[in-house]
């Protein structure tokens, strides 16, 4: 147990995490590419036409995974922020920052693909229902986090301020997730549920789940790649960074 603990703190040191992240990101990038191709094949060449939504439903193969990632990444940021406040490890704040742009991107994509689905299906690009509004708030939280941390010059202070926003803003995630139950929304309820299983055809479900796995792997790859750049800049005064960059 003692050994186990020591290993965790060993990898929490930027100096040991930098080469580890460098070895891991291509692996996750490859998984993402393979999964995405498989998902696209299933989604466009195997999954049948939906009897209600025609071919337009194929947007959900990318809309649902993007929406999941927008929430998962925010929770991951809150998790790292929490570790940062608890253990005061330098890496935590860097991981929080490394995740934010990818999370913001998936939130934007969730809103964008949702609008392109909503126009033909609902007749409106946008409605102010609880699901859409809370997802838009999530986008503003990401933007707020990025603006806040880049406005503060001292990295440790930026981490603390941003970490607080990540933690407080995480309250919004369950609101997004349960909004379709708590309020009468135009947005439909979950198509996949842990307790009730799935209401979708199998090939459709697999296309969506594979895309979700691809987005997971992509997000991990991007966070690992981006954290290396952040480590280099923040630890530039150290001997090992000077040697790495030489």
């Amino acid at each position: 147990m003692e050994n186990f603990k020591i290993r965790w703190f060993h990898w929490a040191a930027p100096q040991s995490f930098y080469p580890l992240a460098g070895r891991l990101w291509p692996f996750f990038g490859l998984i993402a590419a393979v999964m995405a191709l498989a998902a696209l094949y299933l989604g466009f060449f195997v999954a049948p036409t939906d009897f209600q939504q025609g071919e337009g439903y194929r947007i959900i193969f990318v809309h649902v995974p993007a929406s999941w990632m927008s929430m998962v990444i925010y929770l991951a940021m809150a998790f790292w922020a929490f570790l940062g406040f608890t253990f005061n490890t330098r890496l935590s704040g860097m991981m929080t920052q490394a995740l934010a742009p990818t999370g913001a991107m998936f939130t934007f994509l969730s809103l964008w693909t949702g609008a392109l689905w909503g126009k033909p299906m609902w007749g409106a690009w946008w409605v102010w229902d609880a699901r859409l509004t809370s997802e838009l708030i999530l986008f503003f939280l990401y933007m707020g986090y990025i603006a806040l941390t880049s406005a503060i010059d001292d990295p440790r202070r930026a981490d603390r301020a941003g970490g607080l926003l990540a933690l407080v803003g995480a309250v919004n995630v369950p609101i997004i997730y349960f909004s379709v139950k708590w309020w009468n929304t135009l947005h439909q309820g979950a198509s996949v549920s842990v307790t009730k299983g799935s209401s979708m055809a199998h090939t459709m479900l697999w296309a969506m789940l594979l895309m979700a796995l691809a987005f997971w792997a992509y997000s991990i790859a991007m966070a690992l790649y981006r954290v290396r750049s952040i480590i280099l800049v923040r630890e530039r005064h150290t001997q090992w960074v000077q040697e790495v960059a030489a």
Partner: protein, 61 residues
């Protein structure tokens, strides 16, 4: 093959602009993110190298 022709594939049963507008922007965003992350990494490496060329400025205590 569930499509009768490539034209039918691109048309997406009349939903073409919506479907391709979705997937196209997803692809575009991912491409932009990858390119900008690479640029940021190169900039980080350059900033460390720039420090090495001026050891007095910003040097290790």
């Amino acid at each position: 093959m569930i499509w009768e022709s490539w034209d039918a594939f691109w048309a997406m049963g009349g939903y073409g602009p919506y479907v391709w507008g979705s997937y196209g922007v997803v692809l575009l965003c991912i491409a932009i993110e990858i390119v900008s992350a690479r640029a940021a990494h190169n900039a980080s490496v350059q900033s460390v190298r720039a420090m090495q060329e001026e050891p007095d400025h910003d040097a290790t205590p």
